[in-house]
């Protein structure tokens, strides 16, 4: 994955250049963290990289394919297939069971039969140690468990890249530790590429590569 000359402006209330000519590449099985002060544009960059935000200048290349000017439908497909997302807040759908939540992106991709997807979802939950909670509803789980379900959901389609926007931001020390261990395990054992935005320097220090941002620019990578 590459980011080429990405520049973004916020127009409301006045035009501000929030990202200024960001260039970097991310290689397979890297565990990268982006750190920086609040408001330096790190989350904004992540959302641009995730293809959800399309209002920018420059280009994003994922898996050798340029994302610039692609239709909303194609971008949705890219997110579904190649990117797993973990947010600060878990964002599980309360109408569905834990298992169904994990299965949803898989069902949407439609690569496997429903039975197989269910089986894969169980496997992912097992990796995260919460397979016993599979049939519960999300609101019956603790915060840490919910975040782990969200990670399982991110993993279901075996994405090229997992992105996290402060995934431990809402968790206490113990749960943060668990989530970090999971990321580390994914990186080391499953060679999963990870790109995590965080303001927790301790967390960042344990990743393989740190990108530090300030005022919309990368100052260290």
């Amino acid at each position: 994955m590459e980011s080429l000359h990405v520049t973004k402006y916020f127009h409301d209330p006045v035009t501000i250049k929030i990202l200024n000519n960001i260039n970097f590449s991310l290689y397979e099985s890297e565990f990268v963290s982006i750190i920086g002060k609040s408001g330096c544009g790190k989350s904004t960059l992540l959302y641009i990289l995730s293809t959800m935000d399309t209002d920018y200048e420059g280009d994003i290349v994922i898996d050798g394919v340029s994302m610039k000017g692609k239709s909303e439908k194609i971008l949705a497909r890219v997110r579904n297939e190649k990117i797993g997302f973990v947010f600060q807040f878990h964002y599980l759908l309360n109408e569905f069971s834990v298992l169904k939540n994990v299965m949803l992106p898989g069902l949407k991709l439609g690569l496997y039969s429903e039975k197989e997807i269910e089986h894969r979802a169980y496997e992912k939950l097992k990796i995260l140690g919460i397979e016993n909670e599979a049939l519960k509803m999300p609101n019956q789980l603790s915060g840490g468990q919910k975040q782990r379900v969200a990670i399982a959901r991110a993993l279901i389609n075996d994405p090229l890249l997992i992105m996290g926007d402060e995934p431990t931001g809402n968790l206490d020390k113990k749960n943060s530790e668990i989530v970090f261990d999971i990321f580390q395990e994914l990186a080391q054992e499953f060679k999963q590429t990870l790109l995590i935005v965080t303001h927790d320097n301790e967390f960042a220090a344990r990743t393989t590569r740190i990108i530090e941002m300030e005022d919309g620019q990368i100052i260290r990578m």
């Binding site: 997110r79 579904n80 439609g110 959901r153």
Partner: protein
């Protein structure tokens, strides 16, 4: 596969808010129920009122009208001079009232492919002699069997058997009002005098009630033969030929054609009873307008509920988009929600409409003017159900369309970052 998933999500969202869903569906059910019931009842009533006149009236009536001669001698004589002839106080000439060559006309008409049936009729002005006073009235000479086949004569005979007209010589069926005035019952004999002074005794074999009191007070029915005898006329004396067509809409054209072809006067039902046509079409229009208004109101209800649902489910929509559902998918989810409300609400509404209208059908409705009607009239036309069904789907589709479009255009970044 994909549509199944979208449908599953839609159902889950629906069930998560089942109370709101129920309210929305009940709105649709109520409006469809009222729509169907209103139309069934209105149309039933229309049919009843129209039937009062239309069932008994010939589609085309051939008759002969006494009028002044169209070729006045003065016009013929001064044909070649310039200027106009003014002739005042012209009187109609003394002509026979019967249709000449009626037998041939009837047999030709019966062979006509457009004609359902032909019934001859004689109208005779008479006096009913009651003691020392005379009541004016009209005796209609009819052929009972044909009259019943074409104009449901038996429906209006409230006492006695209409076939006795044919089987008993010199018999008469009196209007109910007339019979009460003369204080006679079935089996009694009444004396009638024609305008030319001939007298005849007629045996009362039944009463009829047309629903129009003025008619019941003066009219009575006898067979053609009895009437001819009364008038002292020959066996081919017929004053009216009533024609019932297979297609009522062809009446005006047929009337014109018969008029010139048989050289008689002809009037079609549309010209004779134009007020009924107008009345029933305006009544249907009003019931459709009310029904459709009900549906549109229900549509706004669905629109509101879906809009609220979208505000509540912003997060879910955002996350669905983040994990790879496109705007089109989200759109489909909300359209399916709206359509399922419309479908189930509509189906219940159609059943409700059927139930309510059959309930109305059981309510007693007795009126002197309508002897054959015992309960409120309902028309179970399947078209109302089809229109109601289609309309419930269309309204809910549009009610869902705008909220769905709004949901599909939600920007997940704004929602997710807003937390």
């Amino acid at each position: 596969m994909k549509n199944k998933l979208i449908f599953q999500i839609a159902i889950s969202l629906l069930l998560a808010r089942w109370k709101q869903t129920l309210v929305a569906a009940i709105g649709v059910t109520f409006s469809i129920t009222m729509f169907v019931t209103l139309l069934s009842f209105m149309t039933g009533l229309n049919d009843l009122l129209d039937g009062l006149i239309l069932n008994r009236t010939a589609h085309v009536r051939l008759f002969k009208e006494l009028s002044i001669s169209k070729n006045q001698p003065a016009d013929v004589y001064y044909k070649n001079t310039k200027g106009h002839n003014f002739i005042r106080s012209v009187k109609p000439k003394n002509e026979r009232l019967d249709i000449s060559n009626s037998g041939a006309i009837i047999s030709t008409l019966q062979k006509d492919a457009r004609v359902l049936g032909v019934a001859p009729k004689i109208t005779a002005q008479v006096f009913y002699n009651v003691g020392s006073i005379d009541l004016t009235g009209v005796i209609n000479g009819i052929e009972p069997l044909e009259e019943n086949r074409l104009f449901k004569f038996n429906d209006y005979v409230t006492a006695g058997n209409f076939l006795d007209l044919k089987n008993i010589p010199n018999s008469v069926i009196l209007g109910k009002g007339l019979a009460e005035k003369m204080m006679v019952t079935i089996g009694d004999v009444v004396q009638v005098t024609t305008s030319k002074g001939e007298r005849l005794s007629l045996k009362v074999v039944g009463f009829f009630q047309s629903g129009l009191q003025d008619i019941d007070k003066v009219q009575s029915y006898a067979s053609i033969k009895t009437t001819q005898k009364l008038l002292g006329a020959s066996a081919n004396y017929i004053t009216d030929i009533q024609i019932k067509l297979k297609d009522i809409l062809g009446a005006p054209a047929a009337a014109k054609e018969f008029e010139s072809f048989y050289e008689v006067d002809a009037i079609d039902i549309q010209t004779a009873n134009s007020q009924f046509e107008t009345g029933s079409s305006v009544r249907s229009l009003i019931s459709y307008a009310v029904g459709i208004t009900l549906l549109i109101v229900a549509g706004f209800g669905i629109y509101n509920i879906l809009n609220m649902m979208i505000y509540e489910k912003m997060d879910s929509i955002a996350i669905l988009k983040a994990v790879g559902f496109s705007g089109g998918d989200v759109n489909k989810i909300f359209i399916s929600i709206a359509l399922s409300i419309g479908f189930f609400g509509g189906a219940m509404g159609l059943l409700g409409g059927l139930g309510l209208s059959s309930l109305i059908d059981q309510i007693p409705f007795n009126t002197d003017s309508l002897p054959t009607v015992k309960t409120y009239p309902i028309n179970y036309n399947p078209n109302f159900y089809i229109i109601g069904g289609i309309f419930s789907i269309i309204t809910t589709y549009f009610a869902g369309y705008f909220p769905a479009r709004k949901a599909s255009s939600i920007d997940p970044v704004i929602i997710i970052r807003g937390k």
